[in-house]
C-alpha cells in the first residue's frame, strides 16, 4: 500500500473532519466513541480518520480488539528539535570563545613578573 502524505490543510478543509480531529484531540478514542458524538455514520468516521492518518495529523494503535486514535505531537517535537539545534550551536560557540579568551591568572602574573 502506498503511503500518501496528504496536505494537512486539505485534510482539514472539511468541517466534519475537523470535528473528528477535535474529538481525537480531546483524548485517545475509538471509531465508535467518535461516531457516538457526531451526526455521521461509523464508516464515514473511518473514512475521515483515514484522511487524517494520511495527513499525519493522527496516529493509531491497537488496544486489544480496538483501534485507538490519538493526535500526533509533531508540532511541539518540531519546535524542540529546532531550538535544540539552535542552543547546541550557541553552546559550542560559547565554549570556543570562553576558552580562547581565557588566560590563567598564574601564567599571566608570572609572565609579567619575569619580563
Amino acid at each position: 500500500m502506498a503511503t500518501s502524505t496528504a496536505d494537512p490543510w486539505q485534510a482539514l478543509a472539511d468541517p466534519t473532519r475537523r470535528q473528528v480531529l477535535a474529538r481525537v484531540a480531546g483524548g485517545p478514542c475509538s471509531v465508535t466513541e467518535i461516531a457516538r458524538h457526531l451526526p455521521v455514520s461509523r464508516p464515514a468516521v473511518s473514512q475521515h480518520l483515514r484522511v487524517l492518518l494520511d495527513a499525519r495529523l493522527v496516529d493509531v494503535h491497537r488496544q486489544g480488539r480496538m483501534r485507538v486514535y490519538e493526535v500526533r505531537a509533531s508540532g511541539l517535537d518540531q519546535l524542540r528539535r529546532e531550538l535544540d539545534s539552535y542552543w547546541n550551536a550557541t553552546l559550542t560557540r560559547f565554549k570556543d570563545v570562553a576558552e580562547q579568551t581565557y588566560q590563567p591568572a598564574e601564567t599571566t602574573a608570572e609572565g609579567t613578573q619575569t619580563r
Partner: protein, 164 residues
C-alpha cells in the same frame, strides 16, 4: 553536550568549559554577539551586532546594518556569575512575539566544578506557551490555535518531504 527530554515542553543542554565560573558568565553575557547563531535573523537586513543588556529589565536585541533593531528577549534574572534568565519572545515561526503570555524562557546556570572548570546548563522551558495547539487542543474552534498549529504542521511535513 547532552539533551534530556523528560518534559516535552522543555529542553535542557549542558556543556563543560575549561574556564573559571566568572569568566564563563562574563563571556556568555558580554560576548553574546559572538556566540549566538546568525542564521535566524528576524530583521530584513544582515545583523550588525547583538546586544544583551546586563540587568534585570534589560533586553536582548539585534541591530541591523541599516540601524534597524529587533528586540527578541527580556532579561528576567541577572545574577553574576551563576545565573541568567531571558525570555524567548520568538514564535515557532521565528517572528517576534509581542504577547508575553505566549513566550517561553531560557535559563542558563553556571556552576564551578573546579576553580578552572565550569559546568553550564541551559534550559529552555514553557515551550507550550507559544501557542495553543499541543496541550490545549480542546478549544479548537476558537482563537488562532488552528492557523498556528497548521502552519507548523505544514512546515514539518514539508521538511519531512525534503528529507526523503
Amino acid at each position: 553536550m547532552s539533551t534530556t527530554s523528560q518534559d516535552q515542553t522543555a529542553l535542557e543542554l549542558d556543556i563543560v568549559v575549561d574556564v573559571p565560573v566568572e569568566h564563563a558568565f562574563r563571556v556568555f553575557t558580554e560576548r553574546f554577539d559572538e556566540i549566538k547563531p546568525r542564521d535566524h535573523n528576524l530583521l530584513a537586513v544582515p545583523i550588525d551586532r547583538t546586544v544583551l543588556e546586563p540587568r534585570v529589565g534589560g533586553t536582548v536585541y539585534d541591530l541591523g546594518t541599516d540601524g534597524s533593531r529587533c528586540t527578541w528577549a527580556r532579561v528576567l534574572a541577572y545574577e553574576p556569575p551563576h545565573r541568567l534568565v531571558i525570555s524567548w519572545d520568538i514564535s515557532p515561526q521565528w517572528q517576534v512575539e509581542t504577547d508575553p503570555d505566549r513566550t517561553s524562557e531560557v535559563e542558563i546556570r553556571f556552576a564551578a566544578e573546579t576553580p578552572e572548570r565550569t559546568h553550564v546548563v541551559l534550559e529552555h522551558r514553557h515551550l507550550d506557551r507559544h501557542g495553543e495547539g499541543w496541550e490545549s487542543f480542546t478549544n479548537l474552534g476558537s482563537g488562532d490555535g488552528w492557523p498556528l498549529y497548521l502552519e507548523r504542521f505544514r512546515a514539518a511535513t514539508q521538511r519531512h518531504a525534503d528529507e526523503s
